[in-house]
Amino acid sequence: MFLKKYFSLLWVIFVTLFATTSIQASEPVKITDAWIPEAPPVVKVMAGYLKISNSTANDIVITQVKSADFETVEIHQTVEKDGMARMLKQDKLVVPADSEVVFQRGGLHLMLINKKRALKKGDKVILNFSVGKSRYRVAAEVKEAAIEDHSHHHHH
């Protein structure tokens, strides 16, 4: 009786461990840390930031991003050219084999155009990424936007 219980527990642990590793191994492409800075309510265009990692041996191509909460989603790159900040639309985005691409302020970002509902801090927006024939569904959280002041000179 005791032995049976012991073995079943061992089995559960074993299965759990195996399942976890197999899930990781079966997810060569991961989209993580997706978030949307909270914007003034009058704003119809928002930004999205995230990380895409590709642990496969092949390049992957993001061909489309969609969200039910926005009319259109585009991938843009902020660049400075001729003394001006401009946004370059990327029709597709390549994530090279065994590397990751980070969307962050002042660089690559999702341009979320024409929001369909009010979005405030804590809300979740579902983003659907098309990578070849695969689809990735990612929940991006609307978070309070703040720039960290990294200095330590808070003297009074």
Partner: protein
């Protein structure tokens, strides 16, 4: 024998004096070389007038001559006129952008919000500086949109805009650029714009430029140094 020592000291005295003069001359020479020479040589070498050198923390951003801003005819987000008179008596930070801008403009406004949070610490001098968000997209950014947008980032920030001919009067005087680029539809055009932050002094002169990447700590320190250095601030 008395004359002997006298003669000896007589011979030693000129040698001693010559030696002393030599040492003093060398000391003065090196003193001149070390401390005084730069004052004589520097202006000649660099071709600058006798103008005092800028403190190094502001040298890269401060415009010594400044430029008086004139002909400013903007409308603020409360529908009130904003002219060059509104620059007088306080420091002004200007940033050019548009509300349909998801990345650069919110980032810059958040940097300035963090700068504002540090400002009372940095310097309690009155009056407090003002921040102007200058929309270069007047067709879409009406005062009704500009006000909730700008004040979302800080209740004291002021949104301003104007017709293109008046916007251009300001942008050309501070070296800011902007231009439009077509989008998918006629309404979805995007605006390219300078990402610098412009500083106008309390006399209404264009006085400094902060270029990206903008760092909170750097802006606070540089501004504090400018305020200390700038005459009549």
């Amino acid at each position: 024998m008395n004359p002997e020592p006298n003669k000896q000291s007589g011979a030693a005295r000129p040698a001693f004096i010559i030696l002393t003069i030599g040492i003093v001359a060398m000391l003065l020479g090196s003193l001149f070389w070390l401390y005084l020479r730069p004052h004589f040589m520097a202006p000649v070498q660099s071709g600058i007038s006798s103008e005092q050198a800028l403190p190094k923390e502001i040298a890269s951003v401060y415009i010594p001559k400044g430029r008086p801003l004139a002909g400013i005819r903007l409308t603020d987000h409360n529908n009130q006129p904003f002219t060059e008179e509104h620059f007088k008596g306080k420091w002004s930070f200007l940033f050019f952008g548009f509300t349909h801008c998801p990345d650069v403009c919110p980032t810059t406004l958040l940097v300035m919000k963090a700068v504002w949070a540090r400002m009372p610490e940095a310097d309690k001098q009155a009056p407090e500086p003002q921040l102007l968000f200058v929309s270069v997209d007047p067709d879409r950014d009406t005062p009704q949109i500009l006000k909730p947008y700008t004040t979302f980032y800080h209740p004291d920030f002021l949104g301003v805009t104007a017709e293109h001919k008046f916007l251009d009067i300001l942008t050309t005087q501070v070296g800011a650029l902007y231009g439009y680029e077509d989008g998918e539809t006629e309404k979805d055009y995007t605006v390219n714009h300078s990402a610098q932050v412009i500083l106008v002094d309390p006399q209404g002169h264009f006085r400094a430029v902060f270029s990206p990447p903008l760092q909170v700590d750097e802006i606070v320190k540089t501004f504090t140094a400018i305020r200390e250095y700038h005459p009549g601030s």
